[in-house]
Symmetry: C2
Subunit: 212 residues, 2 copies
DNA sequence: TATTATACGTGAAAAAATTCACAAAAAAAG
DNA sequence: CTTTTTTTGTGAATTTTTTCACGTATAATA
């Protein structure tokens, strides 16, 4: 019925998968070999059926009456997300948000390795932060093609976001994680994910107002 | 039909409202008095019908054949979000992410004023960052009740998030914006909004894989 | 061994969100 | 003044996501 045969999958489910991964890794470290949906659901504050349906999309099946094999489920989720083979990323904009993300060690665990940061502030260029070199914007294109980097984290101010995004698209980047509070226009071949803090603040504001 | 008469509203719509606000403020600054859904949709890369339906939830109506009054729409959205009367917030955890958020001046525009930061690192306590004083955790409870603060931004490491969240709930905080990569358990009276970076990374990863 | 509790898998129902389709109003154009 | 274009508002259809209900398999218990 729908035109797109290759469906993307359920986005809310995809967004919950990392939570399972986090719990499962803890279980694995504790030597637990099996995990049930009820157990995962209580430790994450979700409904059991949500866990089962989410796991279903990864293709991993458990054993009736027993549960899921922890190691197999971890592999399955990582596989589904493409997080088992680490991919390199650039970070553009070494301001405070950029630095915060450079300091976030969770990315490594998720198969994302920030290999270089870029900025056009001469005071920042040349140095390094958390082991990641800060390079001038002029080096972006040559490095992108040389290192085959195709993910970029965009943490520049809103008014330069569009220009940088265009540059990134031009460099062959295929995914932009946009932290700037601006809508960026890129060719269709580039996936953009907006990390919009004000959206979350809006949701929280309304939830507080309605006492839930 | 549904049990809850006071429905929260459509969450995706709520999360998009700040985008309209951003564009509308730009228009207002440029002296534009009227804005149509088609114009808003093209500048944000959304479908026109999405814009119309989103605006519908705020209760603001436009004029057929003309559009929406910019000033009225801004007011209406701010009103709906509760962003017209500024509310104070605490930030707990003055690490790199905490500092990045303290430096994010967008909050002010969204009616959120961070009045104090808390940390238990003695090296940080006593100083200030971006004009916000960094106080010891021990001061949290007394200040919360004295200043009637009811929103907290949680930027502590994952392993102390639950403990701090419990403290916050104990202080009468009614909304927690959780940046820690952990599920926190709080009483029902407290709204939690998880800002899960790994969820976004998961979504981006899958989208890149499926070439869209 | 029989019974009970646990737990997966899945088709179907329900709810939420998006998209369509079109009537009606206003402005612009001819 | 009439026609065309633009645009809101909304009920309905569609799609997506969540939730339910139940069959079946496994383990534990009596």
């Amino acid at each position: 019925m729908p035109k797109n045969a290759a469906k993307v999958g359920k986005i809310p489910s995809i967004r919950r998968l990392p939570q399972y991964l986090r719990v499962l890794r803890g279980l694995e470290g504790a030597g637990q070999e099996v995990a049930s949906s009820s157990m995962l659901s209580t430790s994450l504050g979700l409904e059991q059926i949500v866990v089962k349906k989410d796991i279903e999309i990864t293709g991993i099946t458990g054993k009736t009456g027993v549960g899921y094999m922890v190691a197999e489920l971890i592999d399955g989720i990582e596989d589904y997300l493409g997080w088992n083979n680490s991919s390199d990323a650039f970070l553009v904009g070494a301001g405070s948000m950029g630095k915060a993300l450079l300091g976030y060690d969770g990315f490594r665990r998720h198969g994302l390795q920030i290999v270089a940061a870029f900025d056009n502030d001469e005071g920042k260029v040349g140095g390094e932060y958390k082991g990641v070199p800060v390079l001038p914007m002029s080096k972006l294109k040559s490095l992108a093609s040389r290192l085959h980097v195709h993910i970029a984290i965009l943490t520049v101010p809103g008014d330069s976001a569009q220009e940088v995004a265009s540059q990134l698209a031009d460099c062959g980047i295929s995914g932009i994680w946009n932290f700037a509070p601006t809508t960026i226009q890129v060719p269709e071949s580039v996936s953009v994910l907006n990390e919009d803090l004000s959206a979350s603040l809006a949701e929280l504001s309304v939830r507080i107002q309605s006492n839930m």
